[in-house]
Structure formats: C-alpha cells, structure tokens
C-alpha cells in the first residue's frame, strides 16, 4: 500500500486571469493542503535555494517540474525524486509546471532523457535544500549536522529526540549560504523512501478522470477567438490562387489571411497557407471548408510511395558509406558455406497523438504569451520570438498537459503559427489542428529500406554480417544531406552487439520528400525490425532455436569497445561509454528473462506461436516475446506479450510498467497496421479510418512486464520498449504461418 493517498490528490490549472498565469499545479496531498497552494511567482517568503525547490514557513514544499507530461508520468516521478532526496512528505508537495526558460536546463522532453540525464541534478537540488535545513537545525541545537536526519518533513536529532519541521527551520535556513550543489552528499539510492519502491500515485490522475486536466485546447483567455489553418497539402507547396469571399461570408468568421510562406530548410517554421479566425471552432472549420484555394504543390508533388520504394531498394543494392567495419566482410562472404540475404521496408509512421496540436496565443503590446501542448517550451519560445520578430524575453511559454507527444510536439511550428495568428487577428486565439491536419502536416518518422546479408560457415555460425540502411534522415528537415550520418547509425546499427568476426554496416542515400521528424524510438524501429527479423531467419535457415541463435550472435557477456564494434565513435544518446557501455551481457539478460517469462522453451508442447526480439536503445535493453493466433477478422492477432527491460535504476516502477505496456501496443500499431503513404506528395490516409492504429481488440489481452533489478545508471524508458516489438511480431507470424513478412504493415503481407 502506498504511503501516499491514492484517491484524494488533485491537480488543477490556474486561470489565465490570475497573476500566476495558468501554470499547471499538482498536489500529491489531500484537499486540506490544497486549500492554500502557493501561487508560483508569488510563493512568498521561504527557502528557495535554487530554481526547482521552494519551502514555505508552513512547510509546504513546491517543486518545479521542468519537463512536459505526455503520458510517461514525468510529473508523477521527477518531483518525488527531488522530494525524496529532500526528505519531504509527499502529501505536502505541490508541483508547479515550469515555463520555458533556460534557467531550468534542457526542457526538451524527448530522447527518453528526463531521468537518465537529470536524476543526479534533480537530487542535488533537493539535497541542497536538505543540507541547509539540517545546518539550521544543528546550529539551533548546537549539535553536529551529521548527527541529524531530514525525514518526513522534519529534521530530527535522534540522540536527544528533538525534531523541527521544515517550515519552522525555513527562516534560519534561508539566512545560510547556499552550498555548492556539487558538494552536497546524496542519500544512498536504497535509502530513498518512496521512489523506486512503492507504487507512486498519478499526480494528474484525478484531474484526468474528472475531465478537469487542462490540455492544449482547454485554455480559454478573455476575448479569445478560434482559428484553423488551411495548410499546403504538399511540403513546400504554396498558394497559387485564393478566393476568400465565401469563407468570409460564413457567420462567425472574423478574419481570413495568408500565412508567411516558409523557405528551405523547413525546420520548425509554420507550414504557411491560410488562417481562418472565427468566434467558434465550428465557424472556423466551416470557413476553412469554404475557402477556394488552388495550390502550387511545388517540387514534392512527385512524391509517390510506390515509386519511391524502388529507389530505396536500388539505394541499398549499391554500396553505401561504411561506418562500421570489422575484419573483411567481402572475403568472408566469398568463403562462406552459405549466404543469406533479405530486404526490409518500413513506411513513414505518423505520430497520431490523440490530441492533435493545439495552442492558445495572446499577442499584446509587443509581448506574447502562449499556452501550448509542447514537449519543448524553450524551442517554442525561440520560434515564437523569431516569427514575431521580438526578443525571447517578451515571450512566455506555458506548458499544458500533452495529450500524447511521441516526438510530434517537440517541433516549434504549431506554437509559432498560433503566435503569428494572434498578432494578425489582433486578439488572443486558440489554434486547433484537426486530425486531417495532423496527418497531412505532421513530421512523420522517416521511410526506410534495409538490406542484410549473413555468411555462415559449414557449422552454421555467422562469420560475416553485412548491413545497409537507407532513409532520409531528420537532418534533411534542417538542411542536412540526404544520407544517414554516423550519428544517425547509433540507433541500432553501430551499437548492435555481434559476436561476428567480419562486419560491415553502410549508410545509403535517400532523398526526402516529406518533413521528417522524431517519432518515438525513431530509426531504432526499422533497425530493430530488420536485424531482429534477420536473426530469426538465420535461426530457421540453420534449423536452430531462435533464442539460441540470438544468444550465439550477440555473443558472451562482455562490454564492447569502439574497436570491438569496429567504429570510430558512438553518439551513444549523448552518454559516455564509461557510464553507459555497449553491454552484451545486459542484452543477453533481457533475452534470457523474457524467454523465461514467456515459457519460450515450452512453446512447441503448448502449441503457441511465439516470436522473440531484443534491442538496445537509449542506453537501455529490452527483450520482447509476443504470441500470435489466427483471427477471423484480422488474419492474425497478438493475444499475449511479454516484455523485460534493463534500464538501470528506475524511479517510478508503475510508470515504467505502463510505458512498457504502451510500447507493446504502439509497437503492434507500427508493425501490424501502421504507416502512411504518399501520392502526388499528399498523405493518402486522411483520418483514423485509413491511418490505422491498434484498437482494444488489436491489443493483447495480457501484457507481462518485468523490470530487471539493477544498480546501473538510469537509461531511457519511454522509447526503448517499442523497437523490438516489430521483429517479435514478424517472427511470431512466421512461427504461426511459415510466412516471412519483411515489411510493415505486416498484416498486409500475411496470406490466409
């Protein structure tokens, strides 16, 4: 049972009219402590040794959450890590959502970084405040600080049984010098009282289930109008002819105007097009439908997914740029007893957060305030300032709850667009994206082809591994070259542990015709799918158990150096190899765990069609097994899944489990159903009818999740669960049907 009450907490959003200005507040405590939440910016006297922690004289601890909540549970995790280090009582903690400001450090909630990049920093913020409170108490009692303990919201001196609440110490502590955060002593991890142990409550749970949580579209400010934008359907397209008369005639429509035309590179710029501003969302939508626009689609109108596939395959059939070289692949292939090869294709994957982008902007007197469902408030601030031509100090970005992000909301386009519309409309405006807008004007995951070849010796051992990957990298959206770089190949190509004497991995060219963006797990999705499928193919070609093939190809437990990997450098998700090595032992560990969980060895006798895959990404390791069964309507369906993660130390176990459950479902959407295609440069799937994602019946009835206990530094959690799911599904389909499907969506390739 949690020591934090599960039902009574609440979170709420202060209205824009308050001086505090619409920050999302959350309370871990009950309604008694909710009675007087300190208003951010007006927290009053207290101890505020840094930008993250504030303690009032009544003992209320306010902790700033600088990262965006999009379902990963960051607001229920990060503040409690600080509070635990401090020694606070969770019931007396108030969580304040930060505005976009560099003083908080990197706020881009992306790359599975919130814990792995900030756990030490956050704990030090709490430890600084604790050190000051303990010093103040020790001084008052005339005892040594190291004989005192900060626990349960008080400093205690066990020998004399004295105790002072944090609030009572605030005044004295605030007069002490603030210690250097690098010098403060952290509690041993095992001694943290709440995080990593008990079931932590969902900070925003009550708000969510009662409909009071505020998302991007839920902000209302005085005098606000509503807008939608008719954006060019093709990247780089612009208006050739516009007649706005009929739109202006729609009752409720106030203004119709053209947006600035973006130039290359597209980056975070708004898409251009025509803004329709009205007195309701409905009037704006009707106005937009009445616009008469002839588009000049521009150069990307040539984009046709079927034709493009031929180009991608041609690219991986020719030599690319080698970024990983061990031994001599060509010589080894020449001597191999058997050579296997296979090509894999993965289409663009759209983010499809349930909440399409939505932003409220208020431009007034040369300053701009926005309320945005953004993963990256500092970037939004920069882009808003840029589009308005004002200083960043004149821009305030307030972060709402995000109705899903998955990388889409790391972009600045929708924030900048709303700010521009507010200025042109001369009023505060909420800009609502429709689902069609989201699909048509998104930043989808890139499209890719992979070619893998393996040379086997006469005993079946893999003696040569040759991999080519082609995809337009995200860098192309920002003006970079149309070939994956060595840094792009960190995602599952360069860091793939292989016990193979000859390896070559090559990057191949691919021209972009869409705005490519980050999507949960990014390039790992197709690299894990191709490598994970290919290992299964090797196993079946040799007639060995796929689990044994995995363990043999990954090789014995060891940490691989750059030299072992055959690479000059490894981006390693911004982490050093000392702290986060490429550890074959941990990859083996998740394979062994997940195959034990799923009773892999009994699959023949139990008559189950299981598929296995494993992958390292965001410096964490994940193994997945899925079971598939025949299904009248869907052909095949995943009926049960098992997933094990080794992410080092974890803070909020329940949210790690929930991320893994979600990763299985999103992985199924990606692999079995997913993807969008282009014709004439336009996305061919306008809404959920065609852009398919898993519904409840497509998701397994049971998902078993497991977290490997570890003292290793924390790795990512939000993304690493997704990549192995694709290959696990493909391998299970092979086990069930004997059909090897090498492209997403897998269900389209299964014959019944």
């Amino acid at each position: 049972m949690s020591r934090v009450g599960l039902v009574t907490r609440r979170s709420f959003l202060l209205g824009a009219g308050l001086a505090a200005g619409g920050l999302t507040l959350g309370l871990f405590g009950d309604e008694a402590s909710a009675a007087d939440p300190p208003a951010p910016g007006a927290l009053g006297p207290g101890l505020a040794p840094n930008v993250m922690v504030h303690i009032t004289e009544t003992g209320v601890v306010t902790i700033v959450c600088a990262r965006s909540e999009m379902g990963q549970g960051v607001r229920s995790s990060v503040p409690l890590l600080v509070a635990d280090e401090l020694g606070a009582v969770p019931e007396r903690v108030v969580v304040v959502q930060a505005v976009g400001d560099k003083k908080y450090g990197d706020q881009n909630t992306d790359g599975s970084t919130s814990i792995r990049k900030f756990d030490d920093k956050l704990r030090r913020m709490g430890a600084v405040a604790r050190t000051m409170l303990v010093s103040a108490a020790a001084k008052q009692w005339n005892v040594k600080p190291d004989t005192c303990e900060a626990i349960d919201g008080a400093v205690k001196h066990a020998a004399s049984k004295r105790s002072l609440g944090f609030g009572e110490l605030v005044k004295a502590a605030a007069k002490l010098p603030v210690p250097d955060e690098k010098s403060v002593v952290l509690r041993p991890w095992a001694e943290l009282r709440h995080v990593a142990k008990e079931r932590l409550p969902l900070l925003d749970g009550h708000a969510i289930v009662t409909g009071t949580g505020a998302y991007g579209a839920d902000i209302k400010v005085e005098g606000m109008l509503y807008a939608v934008v008719a954006r060019p359907p093709v990247v780089g397209g612009k208006i050739a002819k516009l007649d706005k008369a009929k739109a202006l005639a729609v009752p409720g429509v106030k203004k119709v105007f053209e947006m600035p035309v973006p130039g290359k590179p597209w980056g975070h710029q708004p898409w251009g097009g025509v803004a329709v501003v009205a007195d309701s969302t409905w009037a704006a939508l009707k106005g937009r439908a009445a616009l008469e626009i002839t588009w000049d689609h521009g150069a990307n109108a040539v984009y046709d997914s079927a034709a493009y596939e031929t180009k991608l395959l041609a690219s991986v059939r020719a030599q690319g740029t080698a970024h990983r070289t061990v031994g001599d692949v060509d010589a080894a292939m020449g001597k191999a007893a058997k050579v296997l090869e296979a090509e894999y294709l993965v289409p663009h994957l759209p983010h499809l957060p349930m909440e399409p982008p939505a932003v409220t902007a208020k431009f007034d007197g040369g300053a701009c305030e926005i309320w945005a469902a953004t993963q990256n408030p500092q970037l939004a601030r920069t882009e808003v300032a840029k589009v308005l031509g004002i200083g960043e100090d004149k821009v305030t970005v307030r972060v709402t709850l995000l109705g899903g992000g998955f990388g889409r909301k790391s972009k600045g386009d929708f924030s900048a667009e709303a700010a521009f519309i507010s200025r042109e409309a001369g009023a505060p405006v909420r800009v609502q994206w429709t689902r069609e807008d989201d699909l048509k004007n998104g930043y989808p995951n890139t499209v890719s082809a992979q070619r893998l070849r393996a040379g086997l010796d006469d005993k079946g051992r893999v003696v040569a591994w040759h991999q080519r990957t082609a995809f337009p990298p995200i860098g192309t959206t920002f003006g970079g070259p149309p070939e994956p770089s060595i840094n792009d190949l960190q995602q599952g190509v360069l860091d793939l542990a292989l016990d193979v004497p000859n390896i070559r991995s090559e990057a191949c060219r691919a021209e972009p015709h869409a705005r490519i963006g980050w999507y949960r797990s990014v390039y790992n999705i197709f690299h894990a799918f191709s490598a994970g499928s290919f290992i299964d193919e090797i196993a079946h070609a040799r007639g060995v158990d796929p689990r044994d093939a995995w363990l043999e190809i990954v090789g014995p437990a060891r940490k691989l150096s750059l030299e072992d990997l055959g690479i000059p450098k490894l981006a390693n998700y911004g982490e050093s190899l000392d702290k986060h090595p490429v550890d074959a032992g941990r990859l083996r560990g998740v394979i062994e765990r997940v195959t034990a969980m799923s009773k892999w060895a009994d699959r023949k006798t139990s008559g189950r069609a299981l598929g296995l895959a494993a992958h390292r990404s965001f410096v964490s390791y994940v193994g997945v097994v899925v079971s598939v069964v025949r299904d009248e309507r869907r052909k095949v369906r995943v009926d049960e899944a098992w997933i094990a993660i080794d992410a080092g130390r974890v803070v909020n176990k329940d949210r790690v489990h929930s991320q893994l459950e979600g990763a299985i479902v999103m992985g199924i959407s990606n692999a079995m159903l997913g993807g969008v295609t282009y014709k004439g440069g336009i996305v061919e799937q306008p809404n959920f009818r065609d852009a398919k994602i898993a519904r409840i019946g497509d998701a397994p009835r049971t998902i078993h999740t497991d977290i490997i206990a570890s003292d290793a530094p924390p790795g990512g959690v939000g993304e690493p669960g997704v990549p192995p799911v694709g290959a696990a599904c493909a391998n299970a389909i092979f086990a069930l049907t004997g059909q090897r499907v090498r492209r997403f969506p897998l269900l389209a390739g299964v014959k019944v």
Binding site: L6, T210, A217, P353, M354, E436, I696, G697, A699
Partner: protein, 152 residues
C-alpha cells in the same frame, strides 16, 4: 439561434448554429473542456458523451439532436469524481496522457449500465470505438472488470 440544452442536469441556453456538432457547443460555448476532440468523424471516441444514457460521438452529433434530451459529459459522470470507474481508473493507474480517457470512461459507464457483468469479448466490442494511442487498453479492461466485480 437560441438552443436549450440540459447538460449534466442543468438547463443551458446557447446561441449557436443548430448544425454545430455537440462537441463544439459543449467545449466552446459551455466551456466544458473535459470532452475532447480527436478526429471529427466518429472514428476515435475521444468526444463520447451520453445522450439519455446512450454513448454518442459528440463530434458528429448536431447540437439540435440533443434538444430535449439529457446530455451527460465527463464532468457530470458523478457529482464528486467518484464514479466507481473513475476510482478504479485512478487506483489501477489506467491513464497515461489521459486525453482519451474521458471518452473511454463515458463508453465504459454506458456499457456497465447496460451490462453490469460484461465478458472480455463484450468489453472489446463495446470499447472498440475508443482509441488510445498510449496503449492503456489492458488497464482499461482491468478497470472495467474491477468495477464489474471480477478480477481486474
């Protein structure tokens, strides 16, 4: 045009286009933002509300069709936020981002009202119209089972 609605037990008068979808009337005109927009074509269920206890997709329901009927939104599902499903959702940690959950809860509440002990197949069938991109389906099913009195 003046339209009279009964929303969460309260009489409201709106001056809106009678063809305006109930979703936008609820959100923009009444300021009840718990009901969410997700697709506009009754494909995702995020906008689900009850019309006389029946779950409907408010994004494709013209506001005129709600005249003379009881509209219930997530804000009115229970007086104190303690509908058994709301409690189960919090206790089991069902939500991730939470955006679809108002729609999920409204659909689930209608299901349990019509069928207090649904089978797993019946749950899947009734909830099929409600998408969740975070993938909380196993916990949604567990929440419904818990309230129905079975094992979560």
């Amino acid at each position: 045009m003046s339209i009279k609605l009964r929303v969460n037990g309260v009489e409201r008068t709106l001056d809106v286009d009678p063809e305006m979808p109930l979703l936008w009337a609820i959100r923009d005109a009444l300021g009840l933002t718990g009901t969410k927009y997700g697709c506009g074509e009754a494909l995702c269920g995020a906008c689900t509300v009850h019309l006389d206890d029946q779950p409907v997709r408010s994004c494709v329901t013209p506001v005129r069709r709600a005249v003379g009927r009881a509209v219930t939104t997530i804000e009115g599902l229970s007086p104190d936020g303690k509908h058994p499903l709301q409690q189960a959702w919090v206790e089991l940690g069902v939500p991730q981002c939470g955006y679809c959950q108002a729609g999920q809860l409204m659909t689930a509440a209608a299901l349990l009202k019509a069928k207090p002990k649904p089978t797993d197949d019946e749950i899947d069938q009734s909830m099929a119209g409600n998408l969740c991109r975070c993938g909380t389906y196993t916990r949604i099913r567990a929440g419904i089972r818990k309230v129905a009195g079975g094992q979560p």
